[in-house]
Amino acid sequence: MMQSEPSSWQLPPAMADTATRVDDAYNFIFWFSVVFAAAVIAITLLFVLKYRRRSGVKSESTARHTKLETKLEILWIVVPTLFIVVLFHKGFSSYIHNATAAEGATEIRVHAKKWSWDFEYPGGARSNELHLEVNKPYKLILSSDDVIHSFYIPEFRLKRDAVPGQYSFVAFTPTVPGEAHVLCAEYCGTNHSAMIADVKIETPEQHQEFLASSGKKPKVCGTPPVECTDEKWGESLFQKNACFTCHGNAGDGMTGGAKSLGPKLAGIFGKPQSLADGTSANADENYIRESILKPSAKIVAGYTNVQMPPFASLTDDQLEAIIAYIKSLK
C-alpha cells in the first residue's frame, strides 16, 4: 500500500481529494505567519537593542510625528484588510468544495454512540470498520444516538459533528489505498479518547470481497489471526465493539483493578443471575441476547443502569458468536 508523502511535516498523509485543498490553504497561511512573526520579532529586538537606555540620551517625543502617524495608521489598517479578504476567499472556496457531495456518491450511514462508531453500508451490511473503495466518491450521513460526537478523519482533513436529533454529512473521494483512523473530536464522556474506528481504503477487488463476507464469519479472525471458530469470532467482536471497556477484559468484570461499570460475564452462562429489582433470571442464550439488544431490560444486582447503548446493529450470526464466546468464558 503506497503511503502518500504529506505536503508538510506538520500534516498527516493526504489520502483524499479534500485533503490537498486544505493543505494548500494551510501551507499558505503557515508561511505567511512565519514571515510575519519573524519580521515582528526581528524589528522589536532591533529597536530594543538599538534604543537601549543610555545615560544622557532622552527619548524622542512622538508629538512631532502626527502627520506620519495618521499615514501609518491608515496603512496598517487598509493593508491587513485587503489581506484578510484573500485569506477568507482561500478558506471559503476550499470549504464549499469539500462541503458539496459528488453526484451519485455512495451513501454510508454512520451511527455514533457512546464510545464506538457503527457503519451501515448500502445493502444493509454493518461493521465497526469503515471500508472504502479507492477513487470512488462517498457521502457519509452522520447521526448520534446519545450525545454530540465529532466524526474526524485527520488523513482526509474532514470533521463534522454528529448531533443527536439532527443529520449531517461529510463527502470525499479517497485517493490513496491504505489505513486511516476515525477519531471522536467532541468530548463525549469517559472513553471519548477510545472512540476510534479503523478506515480501510481498499482496491475495488478487496472491497467487493469485504462486502460479500461482511456480517458472516470470516475465514480468519482474532489477533494473531487463527482459523475462525464461533468462539474466536465472538472474541474479536467483543474487542471490536469495545465491550471490554465496561465488562473488563474477557468479561472478568474488572477495569483498572476496580469493579467495572458493566456486570461480570465470565462464568455466568447457565447460572441464575440475581437482578437489581430482587428477582433473578437464568443467564441462557435469550438473557444474553436481550441484554445486548435491550440492555436496560434487566439490571444485575449491585450495578446501576448506566444506559448501556443497545447494539441493535449486530446480525444474528454475530450474536450467536458472541453468545458462544461468553459461554466459553470461565
Binding site: 494551510y26 515582528v40 522589536t44 537601549r52 545615560s55 477568507f88 450525545v147 468530548y187 464522556g189 469517559t190
Partner: protein
C-alpha cells in the same frame, strides 16, 4: 510649575499621611472596607489562589499525558481534571484577574479620583465572587464536572438519574457557581464605566486617560453586555438538568446547537474581557519603559473599543463544524477576520513606540515584550482557525489548545504578571528582587514555549483535544510538552517565592521607582486612603515625559544608567532641539 497642582482643602475625616494599609487595620477594617485598593488586594489574593489551583490541575494533566495509556490516573479522573482546569482558570482567574484585581487597585488612582463610583457595589461584587467560588468548591468536593468548561448539552444537561444520556458528575453546583460569579463581573463593569465617566479629576480629559483606563472601559462594555447571556444560558442549563425544559436537550425537543450559540455569544467576548486589559497594561508598560508617549495613542485606545465591539460579531467560528448552516458559516468566517485588524494595529503601534525610545529591560518590560511576541504567534494561529477549510481540519484538536494558550497564557497571564511587577511597589510599598524576577521570567518564557509550541504540531497532525489516551505517533511530542510544563511550573513557583520574599523583607519602595510620568506614580507609596493628599488637578497627559518636571520623574528613581549629571540637566537637552 509643578504639573500636578494641589487644590486647596484636604479631607479631615481621613489622615492623608497614613497609607491605606495602616489606616483602620484589623480584620473588620479589611472585610467591610469600601476602599477600592483593599477590595482589589482581596481580589488579587483569591485570584492568585485560583491560579495556583488551576496550575496544579494543569501539571496533573500534563503528567498523565506523558505516556500513552494510563500513566497516573484513570480516564474518569483525567476528564474531571481537564474540566476543572478549564473552569478554575477561566471563571475564577482569567476573567476577574486584571479588571477586578489590578483594575480595582489602580484605575481610581489613574483617574485622580478618591474611589470608584459605587464602593458598596464594589464590595458586593467581591462577596458575590467569593459566594460563587464556594459553589465551585462544593462541586469539586463532590467530584467536580467532566464536561469541560463549555458544558455542551446534551452531555451536561441530560442526567442519567432521570433516564438521560449525559454525565452523572455534579454539574448543577458548578453552573450555579459560574452564574453567580457572572454577576460579580457585571457589577465590576457597571462600576468602571460610571467611574471613568463621572469620577475623573479636573483637567483629565478623555485624551489624557491612560491606555489601561481605556482598555478597562472597553472591557466593562463587554462585561455588561455579554455576561447576562451567560447567566440565562446556565440558568436554563441548570433547570433543564434539574427539571427538564426541552430548550437545549434534543430528547425533549430542544436544539443543542442553539446552546452553543448562546454559550459562545458570551464566551468569545469573554476572551476579550481577558485579553484587552492585558493589552492596556502592555501599552502602559511600553510607554513607561521606553519613556515616551505611545505612538498612535488614539489608535491604540480606539482599537480597544473596536475589539470589544467586534468581539460580539464573531462567536460563530466556534460552530463551523457543529452543524451550523453554510450561510452562517460563511458570514462568521468573514467577520472573524475583522477582529485581526485592531489586534494588528495595537502590535504595530507598540513597536512604533519602541522606535527612538530610551528602553530599559527591567522585569515588567520583559513581560510586555514577551506579550508582544507570544500574542503575535497566538493571533496569527487565530488566522489559521478563521480560514474555513483549515478550521475543519484543526477544530477541536491540540492546535486550538495551543492557540488559546498562546493568547491566554502568552497574552493575559504575561500582561497580568507585567502589571503585577509594575504596580507591586505602589500598592505594597515594597520593592522585589530584580534578579529573581528576571530568572522567574526566563523559566516561564522558556517553559511556556516548550510546552505549547509542540502542541501546534500535535494538533495539525490530527490529535483531538480533551483526550485521555492517544495514538502512539503522538507520544514523543507529548513528552516534550510535559517536560515544558515542569519548567513553566517551576518558573511560577520562583515568581511566587520572589513576591513572598518581597512582602516579608523587601526594601521600602520610593514614590516613583520606574521614573514614570503616569498619575499613579505622583501619589505617595503606598497611597493614602483617598489616593491623593489633596484633590489633583491634571495639566498634562499620563505619558508626557517632556512636560513632566524632574522632581516628579526622578524622586526615588535610582536607574543606574541615568548618571547624576543628566538628572540635574547639566547640558539641558530636555528642551526641544530645533
Amino acid at each position: 510649575m509643578a504639573a500636578i497642582t494641589t487644590a486647596p482643602g484636604t479631607y479631615d475625616e481621613v489622615d492623608p499621611n497614613t497609607s491605606y494599609l495602616e489606616n483602620n487595620k484589623g480584620l473588620m477594617g479589611w472585610l467591610f472596607t469600601l476602599d477600592h485598593k483593599r477590595i482589589g488586594v482581596m481580589y488579587l489574593i483569591s485570584v492568585l489562589m485560583a491560579f495556583a489551583l488551576g496550575g496544579i490541575f494543569a501539571l496533573l494533566l500534563r503528567a498523565e499525558l506523558f505516556t500513552k495509556g494510563q500513566t497516573l490516573i484513570d480516564a474518569e479522573t483525567y476528564n474531571r481534571a481537564f474540566s476543572l482546569h478549564g473552569v478554575v482558570m477561566i471563571f475564577l482567574f482569567l476573567i476577574p484577574a486584571i479588571p477586578a484585581a489590578l483594575g480595582n487597585i489602580i484605575l481610581p488612582i489613574q483617574l485622580g479620583a478618591k474611589d470608584v463610583a459605587f464602593p458598596k457595589l464594589n464590595l458586593l461584587s467581591l462577596y458575590i465572587y467569593v459566594f460563587g467560588a464556594c459553589f465551585a468548591v462544593y462541586s469539586m468536593i463532590h467530584g467536580g464536572v467532566d464536561t469541560g468548561w463549555t458544558f455542551y448539552t446534551p452531555y451536561s444537561s441530560s442526567d442519567p438519574a432521570h433516564g438521560g444520556v449525559g454525565t452523572s458528575s455534579s454539574v448543577i453546583p458548578m453552573t450555579l457557581s459560574v452564574l453567580i460569579m457572572g454577576f460579580s463581573s457585571v457589577l465590576t463593569g457597571v462600576n468602571f464605566i460610571a467611574t471613568i465617566h463621572k469620577m475623573r479629576a479636573p483637567g483629565l480629559t478623555w485624551r489624557r486617560l491612560s491606555l489601561f483606563a481605556w482598555s478597562l472601559y472597553a472591557t466593562a462594555i463587554i462585561q455588561i453586555l455579554a455576561t447576562p447571556v451567560l447567566a440565562i444560558t446556565f440558568l436554563l442549563l441548570t433547570m433543564e438538568r434539574f427539571l427538564g425544559l426541552g430548550i437545549f436537550d434534543p430528547r425533549l425537543g430542544g436544539d443543542p446547537v442553539l446552546y452553543q450559540h448562546f454559550f459562545w455569544f458570551y464566551s468569545h467576548p469573554a476572551v476579550y474581557i481577558m485579553i484587552v486589559p492585558g493589552m492596556g497594561i502592555v501599552s502602559d508598560l511600553i510607554a513607561t519603559f521606553s519613556r515616551r508617549e505611545p505612538f498612535g495613542y488614539m489608535a491604540i485606545a480606539m482599537s480597544s473599543i473596536a475589539l470589544a465591539l467586534l468581539g460580539f460579531l464573531v462567536w460563530g467560528h466556534h460552530l463551523f463544524v457543529a452543524g451550523m448552516s453554510e450561510y452562517a458559516t460563511m458570514v462568521f468566517s468573514a467577520l472573524t477576520f475583522l477582529v485581526a485588524i485592531p489586534s494588528g494595529v495595537k502590535v504595530f503601534n507598540w513597536i512604533a513606540t519602541l522606535y527612538k525610545g530610551s528602553i530599559s529591560l527591567q522585569s515588567p518590560m520583559l513581560w510586555a515584550l514577551s506579550f508582544i511576541f507570544l500574542f503575535t504567534i497566538g493571533g496569527l494561529t487565530g488566522l489559521f482557525l478563521g480560514m474555513l477549510a483549515v478550521d475543519v481540519h484543526l477544530h477541536d484538536t491540540y492546535f486550538v489548545v495551543a492557540h488559546f494558550h498562546y493568547v491566554m497564557v502568552g497574552g493575559t497571564v504575561m500582561g497580568f504578571l507585567g502589571g503585577l511587577h509594575y504596580w507591586w511597589p505602589k500598592f505594597t510599598g515594597k520593592l522585589y528582587n530584580e534578579s529573581w524576577a528576571i530568572a522567574g521570567w526566563l523559566f516561564v518564557f522558556l517553559g511556556f514555549n516548550v510546552t505549547f509550541l509542540v502542541q501546534f504540531v500535535l494538533g495539525s497532525r490530527g490529535m483531538p483535544r480533551r483526550s485521555y489516551d492517544y495514538l502512539p505517533q503522538y507520544e514523543f511530542l507529548h513528552q516534550i510538552s510535559t517536560v515544558g510544563s515542569w519548567i513553566l511550573g517551576f518558573g511560577f513557583l520562583l515568581l511566587g517565592a520572589m513576591f513572598v520574599r518581597s512582602l516579608l523583607n523587601g526594601r521600602p519602595a520610593p514614590r516613583n521607582p520606574w521614573g514614570s510620568a503616569a498619575l499613579e506614580w505622583m501619589t505617595p507609596t503606598p497611597p493614602p486612603p483617598y489616593n491623593f493628599v489633596s484633590d489633583p488637578v491634571i495639566t498634562r497627559g499620563q505619558y508626557d515625559y517632556h512636560l513632566a518636571t524632574d522632581d516628579e520623574l526622578y524622586e526615588g528613581f535610582d536607574d543606574p544608567l541615568l548618571s547624576h549629571k543628566s538628572r540635574k540637566g547639566g547640558v539641558d537637552e530636555g528642551k526641544e532641539d530645533a
